[in-house]
């Protein structure tokens, strides 16, 4: 551990500290409301470390979703990470064993910090990146654990706390709507899923919806790509890992 690197990284990560604590607490509360205690929230935040993914995970656990469905949905909700990795290839080169952790910990926020932040004079850049990544995850784990403990200790009625997930996705959607060149993908996603809910039912609605969405987007590619430069994909602004 390099104390100088951590001291340099900490001030930069304070906004992430606030965000991860709050959203981590909501995650712990939701998981607790489904009957999964602090051990589970700790384990999930330690090994998965993905905000939207873990929020969705609460519902997958609650409904007892089959593993193939868990795998496909996790893949899709994390698809944007592919784009993040592409722009970190250079930065992580030569980090040795720590590179594995850097890849594991590449959340939206850590990505944002790493893309913009520069290490101060006299601090090794690899030590600095590693400190940022490790601090961010520690906030996320801390928030989740706090949420679980609060949920079980305070004993207040947590009915309705799961709406945090809906609110989170709505907030992300508002941000995407503002920065999107075309609103067609968002509208398509909503309408197709609604049709799937009506035709297939609430139990198995997601996979058919997903298949149609991907297929439609591939078919609409000539139209959606017109006038857009895809060589330099912009980062979606997200509030979560």
């Amino acid at each position: 551990m390099n104390r100088k690197a951590f001291a340099a990284a900490f001030p930069l990560t304070v906004p992430v500290l606030m965000g991860y604590l709050a959203i981590g607490i909501a995650f712990g509360l939701m998981l607790q409301a489904e009957g999964y205690g602090v051990v589970w929230s700790f384990l999930m935040s330690l090994t998965i470390y993905a905000g939207s993914g873990q929020y969705l995970g609460v519902s997958l656990l609650a409904t007892g979703a089959p593993l193939t469905q868990v795998a496909i949905l996790t893949l899709i909700i994390n698809f944007r990470h592919l784009v993040y990795g592409l722009s970190m290839l250079e930065k992580f080169r030569g980090m040795g064993a720590r590179k594995l952790y850097m890849i594991f910990a590449l959340t939206d926020e850590t990505y944002a910090l790493l893309s913009s932040a520069r290490p101060p004079e006299g601090v090794d850049s690899h030590d600095f990146y590693f400190a940022v990544a490790l601090l961010d995850q520690s906030y996320w784990v801390l928030g989740s654990v706090l949420g679980s403990v609060l949920g079980s200790a305070l004993g207040f009625d947590t009915t309705g706390v799961d709406f945090a997930m809906t609110a989170l996705f709505l907030v992300i959607a508002v941000g995407q709507w503002r920065s999107a060149g075309s609103h067609l993908p968002a509208l398509l996603g909503g309408v197709v899923t609604l049709v799937s809910l009506v035709l297939v039912g609430a139990e198995d609605m997601l996979l058919p919806a997903l298949g149609v969405i991907v297929l439609a987007l591939v078919l609409l590619r000539p139209r959606l790509e017109r006038g857009r430069e895809l060589a330099a994909p912009e980062r979606e602004r997200e509030v979560l890992p």
Binding site: A65, L75, F79, R80, F169, G190, I213
Partner: protein, 111 residues
């Protein structure tokens, strides 16, 4: 809990494995300077908004229209999340404001 502890562990392991894979894939495929296929880049751009819209509908799948308690809380709290966000643009305020409003509605007003 609807799952056994072992099934829960398996679900978490799958989520952890797949999440890591999505983060590792660019490093596995393109670390030697190859260019990623255009289709992958295209989907990386257009999929996220479609997926978020899908998840919003999924979150609201339990909405019913037989009693006001089935649809008024999600409509009011969802609207509050969007309006708060358009107004202040503060993630935490929008998420927690809307969630607390929803909890008050389902527990107090329509409880």
């Amino acid at each position: 809990m609807t799952l056994t502890p072992l099934q829960t562990l398996a679900t978490i392991a799958v989520m952890a494995g797949v999440t890591f894979l999505t983060r590792a894939l660019p490093f596995l495929l393109f670390d030697r300077g190859e260019h990623p296929p255009k289709l992958v880049l295209y989907l990386g751009q257009v999929l996220p908004p479609a997926i978020i819209a899908m998840l919003i509908v999924y979150c609201l799948r339990g909405t019913t229209f037989t009693t006001p308690g089935g649809w008024v809380p999600p409509l009011v709290a969802g609207g509050a999340a969007v309006l708060l966000h358009l107004w202040k643009g503060n993630d935490m305020l929008s998420i927690f404001g809307a969630t607390i409003l929803y909890m008050v509605l389902v527990q107090g007003v329509f409880g």
